[in-house]
Each structure stands twice: as C-alpha cells, then as structure tokens.
Amino acid sequence: MTDVSQTRTGGIDYRRRQRLSRIAHSLVILAGAIVLTIYVIAPVTWLVSSSFQTEAEIVSVPPHWIPDEPTLQNFEAIFTAQEEEEITYETRSGQDPAAGGFIPSTAKNLLPAMWNSFIVATLVVILNLLVGVPAAYALAKIRFWGRDGSVYFILITRVIPDIALVVPFFLVIRKLGMLDSIFSLVLTYLAVTVPFSVFILLQYFEGLPDELDKAARVDGCSRFQALVRVFLPLSLPSLVAVVLFTFLTSWNEFLLALMFTQTEASQTLPILLAAFTSDFTISFSFINAAGVLAIVPPVIVAVIFERYIVSGLTAGAVKG
C-alpha cells in the first residue's frame, strides 16, 4: 500500500513504466520478425505469383503481387515443349515478347534435367548414408590408432572450397571417361558431401552413450548389428539431417555440374535454368515457372523428412 501512495505523490509510476517497456520490447521484436519474414518470403512469393502471370503482366509497373489474370500457360509450355521447328534468332525476333507464348530453345530439356537432378540427388543421398553411417560409427565408438587424425583429415577436406577442386576433379573425371555423365556428378558430390555427413553423424553417435554399444555387443550383436539394430533407430534425427543436407546440396549444386555436363544426357536443373537467361530472348514468366518446379522436389523431401526430426528419442537410455 505504501508504494501506491508514494507513486501518487512522488509522480513516478514504476509499475507502469515497467509495463510500457515490456510492450515496447515486444513491439521491437515483432517488427524485427515481420521484416525478417518479408525478407525471406518475398522472393519466393514473387516467384510463385509471377509464374502464373503472362509476360506482359510481369513487366507491368507497379508489379502485381496477385495476378490479374492467372494463367497456366507457362507450365503448359514446359510440359508440352516439343522438338519443334528449329528456333533461331530470326524466328524469334518477329514475335512480340509482351504477348508471351514463346519459350526458350532448350525448354524441352527441362523435365529430363529435373529427372537427372533427382537421380543424382537420390544416389548421392543413398551413397552418403552407406558410406557415412559406418564411418561415423567407427570413428565415434572404436578407439583405433589414428582415429583423431582421421577425424581432422575428414574435417579439413570439408573446408577446401569447391572451386579449388574443380580442376583436379575435371582431370580425374576425364581420365575415368565420365564427362557428360551423371555419374561424374554423383562421384564429385560424394566427395563434397560425405565429410560433412560423417561430421554430423559423428557428433550424434558420440552423444549416444558408449554403454549402449557395449550392452548391444554383450547381448550378442556384432559391431555391424549394434550399428543397425541399436544406433540407427536412435539416430533418425541426424540421418534426416544428412538426407536433407545431401539432397539439397546435390539438387542446387551449380559449379561442378557446369564443368562436367554438356548435353541433356547429364545436365541438371540449375544448369538448364541458368541457360534460359542467355537464350535469344528472356521469358521471365517461363523462367519463373521453371523455378517453381525446381523448388517443388526439395520442398517435398523437406516436408516428408522433417517430421522425423524428433528430439528426446534417446531419453531413458541412461540415467538422467
């Protein structure tokens, strides 16, 4: 009661001041969150929105966030792209770009390229797991001579920038006769992703108690069985992290794909999408529609696997 009378006479209402500062604090955080959200969402929104617009609408000023006349013509163009008459500068220059309806000369390669990307990414994911899981288990749970050295070596290979590896990779790939084959990509992506996968899994396995490993082995498991029957079921979150990381890395990779692929036999989506910008004419609506298609598979993969990232799965293994 005394402090109330004091505030009346003294003039400073500390409680009110505290409340105001709390509200101000929340407002600042809210504003920051909104800015960040817009920053992240806006480009994707524009990509999706414009893929349903005609070329004329895309270039209109001010831009339309919601299409006036939504159209599927861009997607139709992708799925119906045929090996038609040869497209040359002459055939193109006569058309009116604003009317839309024309597509890049390599449009028919888009779906095959997507398929290439998918195959490469899937193979890289599977091989990463096949190589990374046993490697990480051995490094985490077996104390062999040279273990620490191996871990450092694997980590060091991870910090070398890809660009430094392009030339040696190219020489090796050429020697192997793998140029312009998706296997060149699988091989090189493995070199780039396996160290990081091992690193993720190693961290996770080291966090699982040694005694679980010992218990499994005394219970009758060989090392391999201990890995498969005890460690893998407990490592789902880290396995999912590896799947997502390697899939997205492979799906998005540009530099190596640019070096090793030449034709539609091996070209991946990023290469083809980039090529659209250097065609005779640039069709923004078409490129954006292709861009939307390009983000669909990673989004699906992320949605499927995200639910397996559950924490607390190891709770109860040991006291605590």
Binding site: R217, V218, D219, A317
Partner: protein, 366 residues
C-alpha cells in the same frame, strides 16, 4: 560353468595409459568376486576385458582353460549390467529383456516364457509394455538385471550397478543381487568403489589401485588383515587412523609402540611377528571402532587427546580427536557425552592393532 583366469594380463590404451599391470587372478566357478578400488584403478577395465569389450594387450585370459583373448563379446557367454543401465530407449521393456535371446535366435515361445519368468522374479511384469523413459531409476535397474538374467549366462558381470540408486534402494537391491547369485548358481564379477557393497556381497574381494592388485581375499581377510595401508584405508568408515611412532623393546618390559606420551604395550602375538623385522619406525593403524572408554584397561592401552568435534551418526557417534596435531576419528557409543575442547582418554583394543612399514606401507603383521 565358468572359471576365469587372468595370466600376466596387461592392458595399455592407445593413448599410452597403462590401465592394468601384470594381473594374475583366478576366478572360481560360481564365485561372487568383487573388484574394489577408487576410480581409475583398472577395475572396470578388468571387467571389460572379461566381457571382451576391451582387448587384452598382453598375457592370457582363459575361460575354463580356453583362451578367449580374441573372442568377440557376442561369442562369449557373458551378460553385463551397466552403471547407467544402458537400456535401449527405442525398445519396450519386454524387447529390452528379450533382445539378447532374439540375437541368439532363441525360439519365440521360449523367449516369451523366459522374459515373463525373469520379469516375475524381478516384479516388473506390469512394466513390460513401457519404454525405459517411463521408468524410475530402480525400475530401470531391474530391467537391466532382467536383461542379463534372462540369458542364463556362464558369467554375470556388473559394473557399479547400484551407484545411480538412492541409498535405501541400494541396500535392498544389494540383498536382491546376493539372492540372485544364489539362485543362478553362476560366476559373478562385480565392480564397485563402495566398500560396504564389496563387504556384503563378495565371496572374495580384489582390491586394486593404479592397475595393480593390492590384495585378494575374503571380506574378513581384507578388513581384518589388510596387506598394506592402502587396503586398510580403503575399507572402514570412518577410515582407519594412523599414528607414526617407534617400536621399543626394553628388556623384560615387553614390546611397546611409542609416540610422545603414548605408549602401547603390544600383545605377545604381535610382538612375536615384529621380532623378525628390525624395523623400528612404524605406522600404527587403529580402526575407528577399536577403542573404548578408558575406564577398563590399564596403562599401556590408553590414548589421550583433546576432542575436536563430535559427530552423532544415529546409532553411535564419531569423535574427532586431536593427537599431536593430527586429527584421528573414533567411533564411540552415543551414550558417552563429550564436549569439544575436552580432554579424553580412550583405551585401545590391542589385539586389533595394525602395524605397517612406515616407508613402504606394507603390513608388518600379515
């Protein structure tokens, strides 16, 4: 059936740590053997070598005359209970217990009966469908025991299985483990740093320090006839008191231990053993409980000092006792009232004295 023999076994780790040095140990069939020592003494390493979880660096490890140095754990007939229980968090209690049998491809019906049987013995039948995270510490401990029990192994290994439990539960589980040993009629090797566990459970105790066996013997041997000061100090609560002094052998007056005013006449039995040695500087050990109020017993048995602290422990009390600047602890009846700062005289039970070489710490008596 399992007799386990260590012959000159060494264990060195890759980082150069020498965990076990020249271990020679013969574990008898159906024996309850306790490996006792402070942390880092090599007791868990020894256990892991029996399980096959650690390789033997040098020497031979034999199960019933068969060399098993290179036999992997899943091919040895051993079961193990861990300090942290190490239950499989993704499996139910039933599957945790059944896992060892499943790995050994036991028929499904047999697994079912054996798991239920073990669960009934351990009173965890109602928990079989739960996961480890839903269990209390004591229940997890029982599941871990069940997992080992159900396999009916030739050797049952336990690595500080009770140290994560609270005090009351620990004592009741001790009794259960002892009962389990009697029921199972198999060789138990049990690692602990808790002397009380070792003394209550063991047929024989192996005391280890820095990878070296200090003494092997029955609990009685280890407690009553410690071979050196380390063993003597490690067992007993409060720990044994040491007084450095000299042995005097004046003609006709008997052999005496002397330190300042303190003069204890050693009984003939002890004196006889000392005659073999020309050691004069010795370390006397008096266990905390081996004193009494000075009313009985004459000169030659009395130790005097000033009370530093009085610590009641329910059944009796500990007296902290200042003796030439050293703090000694004695356990006396709680009926005696002593105040801090008071001078007291206690009579020592001379037949239960321990004498050690002052430099090497080796017992002069045993």
């Amino acid at each position: 059936m399992a007799r386990i023999r260590f012959e000159n076994v060494e264990k060195k780790y890759a980082n150069g740590f020498h965990a076990v040095k020249d271990l020679n140990l013969d574990i008898r069939d159906k024996e309850f053997l306790v490996l006792l020592g402070p942390s880092g003494c090599g007791k868990s390493t020894t256990l892991n070598m029996i399980a096959g979880l650690e390789e033997v660096s040098d020497g031979n490890l034999l199960f019933d005359d068969e060399l098993v140095n290179y036999t992997p754990p899943h091919k040895r007939d051993v079961a193990m209970v861990f300090q942290s229980y190490a239950l499989y968090p993704h499996k139910t209690v039933f599957d945790n217990i059944a896992f060892g049998l499943q790995m050994r491809k036991a028929p499904r019906a047999e697994i079912e009966t054996r798991v239920r049987d073990a669960a009934r013995k351990l009173e965890i039948e109602h928990l079989l469908d739960r996961r480890p995270s839903q269990l209390s510490g004591g229940q997890r401990q029982r599941v871990a025991l069940g997992r080992a029990m159900v396999r009916d192994p030739a050797v049952f290994l336990m690595d500080e299985p009770l140290s994560n439990l609270d005090a009351a539960l620990r004592i009741s589980m001790r009794a259960e483990i002892k009962e389990l040993h009697q029921q199972m009629q198999t060789t138990f090797v049990y690692v602990t740093h808790d002397q009380a566990e070792a003394l209550t459970l063991a047929d024989r105790i192996v005391v280890m320090r820095d990878g070296v066996v200090q003494q092997i013997g029955s609990p009685d041997d280890i407690y009553e006839r410690p071979k050196n000061t380390f063993v003597a100090s490690f067992l007993g609560s409060p720990p044994i008191n040491y007084i450095d002094g000299v042995i005097e052998d004046r003609n006709g007056d008997g052999v005496k231990f002397v330190r300042g005013d303190l003069m204890l006449t050693l009984p003939e039995e002890i004196a006889a053993k000392l005659r073999h040695s020309d050691r004069r500087e010795v370390r006397l050990g008096i266990r905390a409980e081996d004193v009494d109020e000075a009313a009985q017993g004459g000169e030659g048995t009395i130790i005097r000092g000033k009370v530093n602290s009085v610590l009641p422990v329910g059944s009796d009390q500990f007296l902290g006792f200042d003796f030439y600047g050293e703090e000694l602890f004695f356990r006396v009846s709680k009926d005696l009232s002593h105040k801090v700062g008071e001078d007291v005289a206690l009579s020592v039970d001379l037949n239960r004295l321990h004498l050690f070489d002052k430099d090497s710490g080796q017992s002069l008596l045993w």
